[in-house]
């Protein structure tokens, strides 16, 4: 109906305001999505870094893209958690019995995921700068990095939405993120894939994280990205389309 449509933007922004408050009022979320990846970065740069030969003299530069992906993955697992909690409590029922845009409740969560992950990415990049991260990338390359990370966040957020909407328990809601968070370790995020045994290497080189990490690393390093970036975009778009389709179906069924 037309009234529902005209209010979609304002309804969604109310929902965004609501769940952003949830993010900022939860120490747990802030710690997990920013401090944990920063700790991981410190650990890899100052403890393991000396022993890792990544083929560049600045290991922070090499490491940062993978750290950002880990941060985003753990960030989206909280989207699943918040969505699950909303489904459990009566609040979604209240929203759905009100004359507001039906999808506003869901889009509010998706938007919150984009905004809060953007915040944690910025914080992590600032810490990386202090640790010696330097980029020769121009404005266009930075825009491409932002776009790539945004696309990755969006794709994973919809995966998280499936988990949050269909989980039977709180633990189940966040569980989807553990295997995904593990993917960067078996990719080019921490060490070059050339150092891996052949089977592992084959997996590492053909999974999405490697292509995304490589693309971002090339962009930040001012290197030509080649065709790799299209592969990275294709992975993200593919995951996004499938996850979106599944999530909206689950949402429709749960909210029949």
């Amino acid at each position: 109906m037309e009234t529902a449509r005209t209010y979609f933007v304002s309804d969604t922004s109310v929902m965004l305001g609501r769940s952003m408050r949830h993010v900022f009022r939860s120490m747990d979320t802030i710690i997990t999505v920013t401090i944990m990846p920063i700790a991981l970065m410190l650990l890899f740069v100052y403890v393991f870094g000396g022993a890792i030969h990544a083929g560049s003299d600045n290991y922070v530069n090499y490491l940062l893209p993978g750290i950002l992906l880990i941060a985003i993955t753990s960030g989206t697992s909280y989207t699943a958690y918040r969505l699950f909690m909303d489904m459990q409590q009566g609040i979604f029922q209240r929203f759905h019995s009100m004359p507001i845009a039906r999808s506003a409740a869901l889009s509010g969560h998706v938007l919150t995921s984009l905004v809060s992950n953007a915040v944690s990415v910025v914080v992590i990049i600032l810490v990386a700068l202090i640790m010696g991260f330097r980029s020769s990338a121009g404005v266009l390359s930075w825009l491409a990095v932002v776009g790539m990370l945004g696309l990755f966040t969006l794709a994973l957020t919809w995966v998280a939405a499936i988990a949050g909407l269909s989980a039977k328990s709180v633990d189940g809601a966040g569980a989807f993120s553990y295997p995904i968070m593990f993917l960067p370790f078996v990719s080019s995020a921490f060490v070059p894939t050339e150092s891996m045994p052949s089977v592992v290497r084959a997996f590492a080189e053909n999974q999405p994280v490697t292509s995304i990490v490589d693309a971002i690393r090339s962009l930040l390093g001012g290197q030509p990205v080649g065709n790799g970036i299209w592969l990275a975009i294709a992975w993200c778009l593919g995951i996004l389309v499938v996850a979106y389709a599944v999530a909206t179906r689950v949402y429709g069924r749960r909210m029949a």
């Binding site: 304002s10 109310v14 609501r18 408050r21 009022r25 409590q89 009566g90 609040i91 019995s97 029949a256």
Partner: protein, 253 residues
């Protein structure tokens, strides 16, 4: 009838092989408090969910304020408000933020003023800026009902509003419901407490095995039973009366 705000005819709903509603018929008149009585699992919540557009019936028709709930859900949502079985409040927000959020979603002009007014009315002003997770059960329920009153809907659904509340909080909810009806709001209430229906309702319908088996005023229903016998019994105070007498009129903070 002209002034029936809810009309339900031949409503049926099954979950897989379980027939929850087997042809439910009833009507609710404007300004009444209508109580739907039934034991656990009788299908009370199913009826509420259908009438509040959360669930689609298998067959039969239901209209709310003249709009068919299945074909015109957006129009129905404009004029109703639901207080579900589980408090639909946001625990992480404060009481005030909860009310402002709902006022914004109802696209009211002065969300802050609306919130202030309801906080005062429900004696939540002192707790307004505390997170709802610190509220007692009674306060939470009061906030829940206050959220349902944002924008003054003409018809309010209360699904087991006093389940899990202590006697004082229950009496508070009763008072609120009576005030609502006094101001012309129609209240649709479900309950499994017979006393609650007796206290509040203008009309009572009993839902049993998927059908309405009785529907009328308290007086009507009493006539269905054998006439009262006169017996002399010593009336001991019930535990509830004792409890309320000891605790007095202490309100929760």
């Amino acid at each position: 009838m002209q002034n029936q705000v809810i009309r339900v005819e031949g409503l049926k709903k099954s979950y897989k092989k379980l027939h929850v509603l087997n042809g439910v018929d009833f009507g609710v008149e404007k300004g009444n408090i209508f109580a739907l009585l039934g034991s656990n699992g009788a299908g009370k919540t199913t009826i509420v969910n259908i009438l509040t557009t959360l669930l689609k019936q298998d067959s039969g028709t239901a209209t709310v304020n003249g709009f068919n709930v299945a074909s015109k859900p957006d129009y129905v949502r404009q004029s109703i408000s639901l207080t579900g079985q589980f408090a639909a409040v946001d625990e992480i927000l404060t009481g005030r933020e909860n009310l402002i959020m709902i006022a914004r979603l109802r696209h009211l002009k002065n969300p802050r003023q609306v919130a202030d007014g309801l906080l005062r009315r429900f004696e939540l002003t002192d707790a307004a800026d505390r997170r709802v997770s610190t509220y007692s059960g009674g306060m939470r329920r009061r906030l829940d009902i206050a959220m349902s009153l944002v924008g003054n809907p003409q018809l309010i659904f209360l699904d087991e509003p006093t389940t899990g509340l202590d006697p004082q909080a229950r009496i508070e909810v009763w008072r609120t419901v009576k005030e609502l009806a006094a101001n012309g709001t129609t209240v649709f209430l479900t309950t499994q407490h017979l006393e609650e229906a007796e206290q509040l309702a203008d009309r009572i319908a009993i839902l049993h095995e998927g059908r309405i088996i009785a529907n009328g005023t308290l007086g009507d229903l009493k006539q269905l039973f054998p006439p009262a016998k006169v017996e002399y019994v010593e009336k001991q105070p019930s535990l509830e009366e004792v409890f309320l007498a000891i605790v007095g009129k202490k309100e929760d903070k």
